[in-house]
Symmetry: none
Subunit: 248 residues, 2 copies
Amino acid sequence: MSIDNIRVIMINTSHPGNIGAAARVMKNMGLTRLYLVNPKQFPNAEATAMASGADDLLAQAVVCESFEQALEGCRLVLGSTARERKIQHEFIDARVAGELAITESEKHEVALVFGRERTGLTNEETGLCHKLINIPTNPDYRSLNVASAIQIVSYEVMMSSLSLASMADESESSETQELADYASSEAMERFYNHLEQTLVDIEFLRLQQSPQLMPKLRHIYNRVRLKSEELNILRGILTKTQNLKKHS
Amino acid sequence: MSIDNIRVIMINTSHPGNIGAAARVMKNMGLTRLYLVNPKQFPNAEATAMASGADDLLAQAVVCESFEQALEGCRLVLGSTARERKIQHEFIDARVAGELAITESEKHEVALVFGRERTGLTNEETGLCHKLINIPTNPDYRSLNVASAIQIVSYEVMMSSLSLASMADESESSETQELADYASSEAMERFYNHLEQTLVDIEFLRLQQSPQLMPKLRHIYNRVRLKSEELNILRGILTKTQNLKKHS
């Protein structure tokens, strides 16, 4: 099942009850893989109580020391955020997120990312996301609980999975929409490191003076969703530029 | 607002925490009117704690002695149920329920009805519903919490309300969709010329040998839809690279 290629990542969760509630709503909607980045308390009795029969998801949950570690192997990363950012990301709603996650999970690993209870995702973390999910809420009362956000996105994943299944039933052959060989998150990180180093080498980037430059460049290349072949071309250009500098 | 014509009815709720959680998810999604039919404990401190800022909905909640009383004035009654019934009802999914509720609330009062935590709605109660809402769940783990069910249906009401509002907006103010300051085609052409010249300068590109390179690079940057500011950053990097070469 392609839905098994979808993981939910919770970052730095404070209340173990929210982890349990998240496991429950995930299991309700057919999702099974929970990743926890530095949870405050886990394993925990309150988490197990709130999971209410979804404790198998907690037992299998992967606890990670960094967000990057939790992202390993993922080629589509969707981050959920309530706040608007200065740096413009591509925002999609939960419905589109559900469709994207199901379509792409046919081919590769997909991450759905949820931040801290109070403060959500940091700018650095959203920088690792290809798109941001914005769940519509009452403008006068936006404080969506993290498990509620997971509930809504998981529900949209389930809805999308069902509609895909029913379409597949209708026309068996379907179109096996050609999913490109997208670069992995790790490859993108190596690219950004390479880009940053090159900009330092050619003295374009004085890091202290322009803290916004790398986030802006990330924003450009995250929007493209580079294919592996394209990434190789860009890295080739960077290497050539670096060699030039070395010999100058 | 027509959404104010929609009430949520919870029947015979056992755990006051679920009433509080329901108030919170309702308020998140712009719903305000909560009716409680014979709640086991209400008002209650746990309900208030779980409402977390949505306690105004609890303060205004209408406590009723019978389901019939809670339904007074309603012309569309949608009941949520996990189980299939012997008596054939019309089942709709939560999405259709959200659309129906919003459409009909323009005209009259609508009720969304949720049953007991363990046993849901009785046959007598579903007999008072016009249609039944079935939320899709994992067949191996169907036990959707009552507040989760309210969350999903409320979310669909909100989505439907927004799509109705945006349709109204579109017909009104045409397509003046806030267009970001995207780079013009001419600016993009100047960028491609600059990029090509730089690649020649740094001897990355031997044009005869790789006729496919520029089309591939174009394909990358066309996909991004660069903004003018972003284009300026990229051209700045190219200029810096060219200067480097000149001085080498």
